[in-house]
């Protein structure tokens, strides 16, 4: 009976959640559009120049300006922007001439690939490290985690990236260099998902797959390290909090093994806030890997947006920003859902 009620409750919960989510998404995106749009208009870069170049004769310049709609009032431009954006049309990128959506579809998988691997490393190494550090508070492993974290917070990522390349690629030759794939393999497969690892694997191109793995290893480990630094420290602090709870003592009183107490009872509870932390760090990797992408010649979204911004390619900037904003909100929702899944107290 209560089970049935639970289901109905869950359904209602999902429904209200969805409605709320759509509202949140809509307002956030509108806010994002507004901020980006007005930034785009106050940036002292002439977007027409990006299209026609410096040496274009005046009439070519004028025509391009009109085509961009820059001669209309600001408010009108904004309305047009929003109208189009709602239908998923972010216009064409000036720099690549492709529709911005296409460009994002091309660059986002690269970023996704890197960020996902980085987060996986961060989670699968960072969480156990954090747990161990909390359990052995004050021991060498705690110090190690602390040090890893502090170094991770303090080292410039581009420096570490180049040094990594120098050591593991140039000197030791353990991994492949910058880029996603050697040219030899570039045309052995057809891009489907855009994630090279998946595409090559699905098409049975094992050589290409291993080559891609070798390419992605270093940047992924680098991002993984940064996410690990964060996740392990947060895990540690959440675990310390949980380990001090009464129910942990109760679990020990029951005569459960320490492993079960820690990994099943305490971590299961620490997982609740941890989900949010992991989602946040994932979002950060998705948006913040511009520097890594530059160093590793990784044709990702971060580089795309930065490059567009420097060239006043506002369509691309807006599109990219909206995508990242959407992903951010989606991740928030996901972590929210997971939160509810993991924590029965929040299910009403």
């Amino acid at each position: 009976m209560i089970r049935g009620g639970g289901h109905a409750g869950a359904l209602r919960f999902l429904l209200t959640k969805t409605v709320k989510f759509i509202l949140v998404l809509a307002t956030t995106l509108l806010g994002l559009i507004a901020v980006t749009f007005f930034i785009g208009r106050v940036v002292p870069i002439d977007p027409v120049l990006a299209i026609v170049g410096d040496r274009a004769p005046p009439h070519v310049y004028e025509r391009a300006r009109q085509e961009l709609g820059l001669d209309r009032p600001l408010a009108e431009q904004f309305v047009i922007y929003v109208k189009k954006a709602v239908t998923g049309d972010f216009g064409n990128s000036v720099l690549t001439t492709n529709p911005v959506m296409t460009d994002i579809m091309n660059t986002f998988p690269a970023t996704l690939e890197l960020a996902t691997l980085g987060t996986l490393i961060g989670v699968f190494v960072g969480v156990p490290l954090g747990v161990l550090a909390a359990v052995r508070r004050g021991s060498w492993i705690d110090q190690l985690v602390r040090l890893l974290g502090l170094v991770g917070y303090s080292v410039p990522i581009f420096w570490l990236g180049l040094m990594g390349l120098l050591l593991f690629y140039a000197k030791l030759g353990w991994v492949e260099g910058p880029g996603r794939l050697d040219v030899t393999y570039s045309y052995l497969y057809t891009p489907v998902t855009g994630v090279v690892l998946i595409d090559t694997l699905m098409q049975g191109q094992m050589d290409a797959f291993w080559n891609a793995v070798s390419h992605v290893a270093l940047p992924a480990c680098l991002l993984g390290y940064f996410s690990l630094a964060y996740i392990s420290r947060m895990t540690r602090s959440f675990m310390l909090n949980e380990l001090a709870q009464e129910y942990v003592i109760a679990a020990r009183v029951k005569g459960l093994s320490e492993i079960r107490v820690i990994w099943r009872h305490a971590l299961r509870n620490a997982a609740v806030p941890l989900v949010t932390v992991i989602a946040l760090s994932y979002a950060n990797l998705l948006e913040g890997s511009v520097l890594t992408e530059t160093v590793f010649a990784w044709p990702g979204l971060g580089q795309y947006i930065t490059n567009s911004l420097q060239n006043a390619d506002m369509n691309a900037v807006l599109g990219g920003t909206l995508i990242i904003g959407t992903v951010f909100v989606l991740l928030n929702l996901l972590s929210d859902l997971l939160y509810h899944l993991l924590d029965p107290r929040t299910r009403r």
Partner: protein, 310 residues
């Protein structure tokens, strides 16, 4: 007057500080401070962090005295470019024949400026947004938090880039950009903290004494949010320095020839493999200072935020 009596009765001074019956506001405050300091100083890493930060401040103040060369005017381009570290140039010279040590020393000013300004701009914004939203609740909360979310959902570096692009490159604008992008997490922390405080009995008690809302927020809520915020800001300092460096790296931070560590590393990356010192020296400076702030933040957390230290 000699120092002898004091030396002989160190417990006297400590007893005074720790007196359970302080005789004045000052004694109470000092005692509290001393207690904090004692907890703090038990953590050698935190003291090290404080040392680094103090060193940064001292170096910034006395840059003129410390730096052996001009940070801006270089030597002979033909003979003094890209010299490795030596007795004459401790950290070597850069591509424009400038002494890197002197530039690092002067760069501490920029770094300090960045750190201070961001702290002064971002913390109050975050604090105000968070406490007001948390305390008032209702639609004020909804509106303020939605704004916060929007800024939070914005790719941070991109927002900073955009602001710098809009305001024009330069260190001050970079700082404003960083400040604008770093307040949302502070607002969230302040709000969360406020939510736990706002229903507490001591807030109800001042309400019952007829205190106005601004008075409650400023006098009673803010001081309690401040400590976790200070900790968070200190821990963020490293990230802020690195973001400034990242902006410098993208050419949007400090203006040349102003010595800014991030921009220096950015130049140095062109010589990374053979003239390693050009990037490594300012890079090491960034690292040390970030580490210092992190260690300090960690230590402060133990002192100010016993919850997190558990």
């Amino acid at each position: 007057m000699t120092g002898a009596p004091l030396v002989q009765q160190p417990s006297g001074a400590r007893a005074w500080l720790l007196s359970p019956e302080p005789a004045s506001r000052w004694q109470a405050r000092l005692g509290r401070f001393y207690l904090g300091w004692r907890a703090f100083s038990k953590n050698p890493l935190a003291v090290l962090g404080l040392g680094v930060v103090l060193l940064l401040i001292l170096v910034a103040i006395f840059a003129d005295l410390i730096a052996p060369y001009s940070p801006i005017i270089g030597g002979n381009l033909r003979t003094e470019r890209l010299l490795p570290p030596s007795a004459a140039h401790w950290f070597g010279t850069d591509d424009l024949a400038r002494d890197i040590f002197s530039r690092v020393v002067y760069g501490s000013r920029t770094t300090l400026w960045v750190v201070m300004l961001v702290a002064i701009i971002a913390t109050p914004i975050g604090l105000a947004m968070g406490t007001v939203a948390g305390y008032l609740g209702g639609w004020v909360d909804t509106v303020l938090m939605r704004i916060t979310d929007i800024f939070l959902a914005f790719p941070r570096l991109i927002l900073a880039l955009a602001f710098v692009a809009a305001l024009g490159p330069g260190i001050d604008n970079a700082i404003i950009a960083i400040a604008i992008t770093s307040w949302p997490p502070y607002a969230r922390i302040a709000r969360a903290e406020t939510l736990t405080i706002r229903n507490s009995d001591f807030i109800a008690a001042v309400k019952l004494q007829g205190a106005s809302t601004p008075r409650i927020i400023l006098g009673h809520v803010v001081p309690l949010c401040l400590s976790s915020l200070i900790v968070r800001v200190t821990l963020d300092m490293a990230g802020i320095i690195l973001t400034a460096a990242g902006l410098g790296f993208l050419g949007l931070g400090a203006q040349p020839p102003m010595p800014e560590w991030g921009a220096m590393v950015a130049t140095g990356r062109n010589y990374l493999i053979d003239q390693w010192w050009v990037a490594a020296m300012p890079g090491a400076a960034i690292f040390v200072v970030s580490l210092g702030f992190n260690l300090l933040g960690d230590g402060l957390r133990d002192v100010l935020d016993p919850k997190a230290a558990k």
